[in-house]
Amino acid sequence: MTNPPPTDWTATSPPVDDAAIAVNLTGITKRFGDVTAVNDIDLQIADGEFFAMLGPSGCGKTTTLRMIAGLEFPTEGSLQIFGVEVGTQPPNKRPVNTVFQNYALFPHLTVRDNVSFGLRMQGTNKREAARRADELIELVQLSGMEKRKPAQLSGGQQQRVALARALVNEPQVLLLDEPLGALDLKLRQEMQTELKSLQRDLGVSFVFVTHDQEEALTMSDRIAVMHEGNLLQVGRAEDLYERPESRFVADFIGQTNLIDATVADADMIVLTNGTKVKAPNPHPAGTSVAMSLRPESIEIGRPGTVPTEYEPTSLPGVVKSVTYLGHALVYDVGVDWIDLEVRTENVPAEQRFTVGDDVAIWWDRHADWVVPNE
């Protein structure tokens, strides 16, 4: 057995002990003909971690999950599960199970037979398999439904059957492919909480694929953001939200204003219109960058009311539109060459700005964040 290669954590990932690595992808690439679905990915998932793979459709997240499951084989690279190389092993030889998108329950089998399927295939006798299946059916709160067929269940119930079926073999890693995608909003939120507490109770890693950033942010210990087959960043929710490493991640996670700029020095950037703005950054002078400013980090006030300490991070503008959200107000402020979104708490009507008002906007210099444009 080969030693796992040295762990290569991105700057924002919390360090993990080598022995606790459940899934280890090194230089994994998957090509379908001329199309590269997954491009040279290095990724370590810790034992007992709730890990999300997030990205728009076609970003390679599902392909990556399917490679871990054994439903696709990597074109290049090494794939280890608890230190064992499994890259070319068929799915039935791997200690992982999958909750499929739209569940893929066996329509000809009852709930109990669906759940006990995995055990029966391993040669467990019928009575023992049924007993263990019933335990899991109880765990997912479907007792009394053992003899129903999948078609007689609601979407949420089918989801639970899929979960119980995948857990019956006691996988070392549970893979979930958009498991909540087919549920309506309320049920989805309930299931999020349940999945999270189930994962805590079982203590096994859940690797969860989703295109829904809110789902990823609320449920996961760590998140990997993928785009066009590349792994852009791995980190905790706040790492991704507050310290994105690329323009794509800044734009994809939450709402933000991206303002094109050039690096002047380690402490200063120059916006497109020549305005110098204080913004600490690690990039060499001259680098084309974007400054990410969350709408809620921008303050808005009448011209001339900018506090002195915020002068280096302020801009004059004109209100172009106002959106009333009840708990909040969203202003579209035209700043010379671009429009910025500004979000404030709701204030009494007489204090609100209206379209055409001249305003000043400013932000804390720790609130902005500079990302390279490419």
Partner: protein, 301 residues
């Protein structure tokens, strides 16, 4: 009822119960009219002749080879107990079963392969399955006659390989080969339709849960494709049981099957009542086979 009363009761645009009832009646009547030509055709050329056959089966053959219909009796049905008749009957059922099983074994992997190809390849393969239908059935059977004959390519290859001169023609094997060839498409098509409908992710789920390839076939693919297996088996078994052309050309005198035997009764023996009784029994057998299969499948095809 006048035309007016049928349409009128919708006052102020409101559909009264009378109006709805009339509307329903009208719809049913229109449906019946559309089905009428087919009904009439089937009644005239299927139901009526079928009735005549059943009636004849209770008649008596006169010494001159004509049929006496007065004085109904079961004599023809009693003849079914004769050894020769029993032999023909069981041989027919056996060969039809054998044909069905061989077709199933050959067609299933093919249908699975076809169902898992890209749409373009699939359509191409469907065309290939259909191509034999473009040639007359009789011609195709005579082609087999040539292939399997003493001087045919089959025999030559066997001789070359050292098996000595082999003549398959006029054996039961020849009949089964011909029947399998003739009815294979009827097995492939329903199997293909059934397998193609199955969600491929179910097989992935099965493998993911630890099933081997064979277990996935046995526990997921086969049960889910059962409607196709049943439909295909009926479509092969029934025509094989009553087959006439293929056994007659490839089977020769020694392997008389039900179809040829019935023809003999009508044309050579001129025993119309016995021929009719055999036909009635054959139909009953087919009906029974169909019902048994439907019951076991427990679903619509």
């Amino acid at each position: 009822m006048t035309a007016l009363s049928r349409r009128a009761p919708a006052e102020d645009g409101i559909a009264t119960p009378e109006f709805e009832a009339a509307h329903e009646r009208q719809k049913r009547w229109r449906g019946f009219l559309m089905a009428l030509p087919a009904y009439a055709y089937l009644l005239l050329f299927f139901a009526v002749p079928l009735g005549i056959v059943v009636v004849y089966s209770f008649g008596t053959r006169t010494r001159f080879g004509t049929t006496e219909l007065s004085g109904w009796n079961l004599e023809s049905y009693e003849k079914l107990g004769r050894d020769l008749v029993q032999q023909v009957l069981f041989r027919s059922i056996w060969l039809a079963l054998l044909t069905t099983v061989i077709c199933l074994v050959i067609a299933y992997p093919f249908a699975y392969y076809m169902a898992t190809r890209s749409a373009r390849v699939r359509n191409l393969m469907l065309v290939f399955v259909m191509i034999p239908f473009w040639t007359n059935f009789l011609v195709r059977n005579y082609a087999w006659y040539v292939i399997l004959g003493t001087d045919g390519p089959f025999s030559r290859v066997a001789e070359f390989l050292g098996f000595g001169p082999t003549r398959l023609l006029f054996t039961q094997s020849a009949v089964v080969m011909g029947l399998v060839y003739g009815f294979l498409p009827f097995m492939i098509l329903p199997l293909y339709a059934a397998i193609e409908r199955i969600d491929g992710r179910l097989l992935e789920a099965s493998r993911d849960l630890g099933a081997t390839g064979y277990q996935s076939f046995r526990r997921v693919l086969l049960p889910l494709s059962m409607p196709g297996v049943i439909a295909g088996s009926i479509l092969v078994f029934i025509p094989s049981l009553g087959a006439y052309v293929t056994p007659d050309i490839l089977g020769g005198a020694k392997t008389t099957l039900l179809g040829s035997y019935i023809v003999t009764q009508f044309l050579s023996a001129r025993d119309f009542p016995f021929g009719a009784a055999l036909s009635t029994v054959l139909m009953a057998l087919m009906l029974a086979a169909t019902i048994v299969y439907f019951r076991r499948g427990g679903r619509t095809l």
